[in-house]
């Protein structure tokens, strides 16, 4: 991957825990890239148009707008603090000049309008240029105010606030292909909203047992089908996927399809349940496949085959013998996301030590790359990395399992919808890699 690398430092080198990026999402054209962080802020990057003078030089991403989406709240009834961390951002398809996105924390979803202002009216009759009211006696003639160009200003305003619909922590939002509705999922329930209506939502999935002591699984992620507005999928902590059809019933507790791979009884360990929990689920762009991520693997499922995944990719199987220490230091609970490329031929997911992995589904080749400032300069070719077993034969540049830095985790990655551009969130830094040689998807 020959790449042009951009690093967006969210802040200077002195950074706080609120700067940790918690979500990354391209919009539908790839022109805009939004990130959310633990401090409740959203930063939107815009891709510069291609330079006319250098036709092969693709635009870089620059900061377009920054705003505070969510603030910390306190639920007095439950004596609970509600974190302002942005869990997910989803863009709405663009319908006019403005852009709209949904952002959510644990409890509240907000719809934001992002619009540009590059003109302003001048020549008011009753106000002067500074906005002060004119002395009416000085007005001798009437003029029509005209729009004059001004420096581009990006305005972000909250258009809707969808609150008080979730008892548990919201983990996913997904915009429907009808562009009118969207769903939000928490640990036990999924709600369907209309984008224009904030005071009510419909509950479409409820897996809360009558007795909480009987709880055996929670919802971990949910997504609408990209084309069929009646279909959606949700994943569970037990490693199952359920495809639901909203036309079948108002309450979709009963699934249309259940995707589950039988567990290998010989591989049972103390942590079997943890590592089988699905942390992310994504439909392919075609709508034919599902991509899921659990702690050690990424799996591609065919919607027509429920009994087992089509493909299983080992992301970092060398961690299998280290599950105990990963449990002790809580790393085993890390929720890695996964992503498709635009043509559904390559899948990508993050790992530790600022490594991320790409798997080509056709050639069956895979690569491990590192997102770090030290290891590569702008316009440098990213060097494939390799993790070798402790004490194993080491090549130069190999890294041993025991030397991996588990504090450097890549949980959030995103792939441009059409081009070979990827966004990698490494703690508080955002890396954008572009494949200049192969800019088009194939």
């Amino acid at each position: 991957l020959e790449s042009d690398k951009q690093i967006m430092k969210m802040n200077n080198d002195v950074w706080s825990i609120t700067d940790i990026i918690s979500t990354v999402e391209f919009n539908h054209t790839g022109e805009l890239l939004a990130t959310g962080d633990k401090g409740g802020r959203v930063v939107i990057f815009q891709r510069e148009p291609e330079s006319k003078t250098e036709p092969f030089s693709q635009g870089e991403y620059n900061v377009y707008s920054t705003f505070q989406s969510h603030e910390p709240e306190f639920d007095y009834l439950k004596s609970l603090e509600i974190e302002e961390k942005i869990n997910k951002i989803r863009w709405l398809p663009q319908q006019n000049a403005a852009h709209f996105l949904l952002s959510t924390n644990d409890k509240t979803i907000k719809l934001w309008k992002v619009s540009e202002r590059d003109k302003r009216p001048e020549g008011y009759n009753l106000k002067d240029e500074e906005g002060r009211i004119k002395d009416i006696s000085t007005v001798t003639s009437l003029q029509v105010p005209v729009l004059k160009p001004m420096d581009l200003m990006v305005e972000v305003s909250p258009r809707r606030v969808f609150a008080n619909a979730h008892t548990y922590h919201v983990n996913s939002i997904s915009v429907n292909s009808d562009y009118e509705t969207y769903m939000s999922a928490d640990d036990l329930r999924i709600n369907l909203w209309h984008l224009d209506i904030t005071d009510r939502s419909f509950n479409i999935v409820d897996i809360k047992p009558a007795n909480m002591e009987d709880l055996t699984e929670v919802i971990t992620a949910a997504e609408f089908h990209p084309h069929h507005c009646n279909l959606f999928v949700y994943s569970s902590s037990k490693g199952t996927l359920r495809l639901c059809d909203m036309r079948e019933a108002a309450l979709c507790d009963k699934h249309s399809k259940l995707f589950e791979e039988p567990e290998d009884p010989s591989a049972r360990s103390f942590f079997s349940e943890i590592i089988s929990s699905v942390s992310d689920v994504k439909f392919s762009h075609s709508g034919r496949y599902l991509l899921t991520r659990d702690y050690l693997t990424a799996k591609v499922w065919d919607l027509n085959m429920e009994s087992k995944p089509l493909e299983t990719y080992q992301v970092h199987d060398y961690l299998r013998s280290k599950l105990c220490s990963l449990y002790e230091n809580d790393c085993i609970f890390d929720k890695f996301e996964c992503a498709w490329n635009g043509s559904d031929s390559v899948i990508m997911t993050g790992a530790y030590n600022n490594f991320f992995r790409m798997f080509d589904r056709n050639t069956k080749r895979d690569v491990t790359l590192e997102a770090s400032r030290e290891s590569s300069k702008p316009r440098a070719v990213l060097k494939p990395r390799r993790v070798c077993a402790a004490g194993g034969k080491r090549r130069k540049d190999d890294i041993s399992v025991d030397s991996l830095d588990f504090t450097k985790k890549i949980l959030h990655t995103a792939w441009h919808p059409n081009e070979n551009i990827i966004a990698i969130a490494a703690t508080n830094n955002l890396y954008i890699f572009q494949d200049k040689l192969n800019s088009e998807m194939h």
Binding site: E83, Y168, V218, S237, S269, F270, E273, S321, L323, E328
Partner: protein, 293 residues
């Protein structure tokens, strides 16, 4: 069947780690994370299953020592200062009544085989116990030393007390106090909980939850004791004398005792050669008992 080989820590440590996580989650910002706590509860359940299985396996292993120890008992009946045979029988019957089974798990020599069969069949049943709740049983970690038992009761069961409890349980013939020596810790009257069952009854059995109901109550006491013993072992690991828990040395000793009491004195030098000095030091009471005779 949970594969524990790849896990660096044992089941009991996992249980404590998991409990700590659940406890810490209550003060975490943003409220209790349902998903994470659910996953932790699965680890708790798995660790508990393994722990129970290990305990039963250990009990089963102890059964094998029981056989030899009963031979020792018979030998010790030659010692006028010790229990006589009648008392031993009474104790057997009392225990059997308490446990509600024909054969006591302690297993006298004649019922040996039956006991083993019954134990073996009891084990699978017990291992299928399901984790019925998210919170662990607090009684799991209750120290058996919380139960204070009168010394007089202990005396009666001293002989078999050795069999039930730690193999380094000793009777001090001078004071008639039963003492457990393990890892440098001295627990007085510690084994009495295990023995109480033989008296028909008491409270420790009833405090147990349903899970152990299918097993005989002295198994509970034993498991309670082993829990405490393991906990002590963990807490005191820096002090551990490896030979204290070196079962091969213990079994050597038992085979020596079993081979004939009359030959013991003459074989004392052999004893010293076989065991390390630390073990000898701990067995001072043993030697004292035997020398006294």
């Amino acid at each position: 069947m949970i594969n524990t080989m790849e896990c660096a820590v044992d089941a009991q440590s996992l249980i404590s780690i998991s409990l700590m996580k659940i406890h810490n989650s209550r003060t975490q910002r943003g409220g209790i994370k349902l998903h994470k706590n659910l996953l932790v509860s699965y680890v708790l359940r798995n660790a508990r299953q393994v722990y129970i299985k290990e305990k039963y396996a250990e009990i089963y292993r102890m059964q094998q020592y029981e056989e030899v120890m009963t031979v020792c008992n018979e030998i010790q009946q030659l010692n006028p200062l010790e229990l006589d045979a009648e008392d031993a029988d009474d104790e057997e019957q009392a225990r059997a009544a308490c446990c509600g089974e024909d054969v006591s798990l302690c297993g006298s020599a004649c019922h040996r085989d039956a006991a083993h069969t019954r134990t073996a069949s009891a084990l699978p049943g017990c291992s299928h116990l399901e984790y019925d709740g998210k919170e662990p049983e607090p009684s799991f970690y209750r120290s058996c030393c919380m139960e204070a038992s009168p010394v007089s009761e202990c005396d009666q069961f001293s002989a078999n007390g050795r069999a039930h409890c730690n193999k380094t349980t000793v009777l001090d013939l001078d004071t008639h106090v039963v003492t457990t020596v393990e890892n440098g810790y001295l627990h007085q009257d510690c084994c009495c909980d295990a023995l109480q069952c033989g008296q028909g009854a008491q409270s420790p059995a009833k405090k147990r939850k349903v899970e152990f109901a299918c097993c005989v109550s002295d198994v509970e006491e034993l498991s309670d004791f082993t829990a405490a013993r393991k906990r002590v072992k963990r807490e005191d690991c820096s002090y551990t004398h490896p030979d204290y828990t070196d079962t091969s040395n213990i079994s050597n000793l038992i085979s020596i005792f079993g081979s004939g009491f009359s030959g013991l004195l003459s074989r004392q030098t052999d004893l010293e050669q076989i065991c390390s000095k630390q073990v000898l030091a701990s067995l001072g009471a043993w030697t004292r008992a035997i020398v006294a005779f």
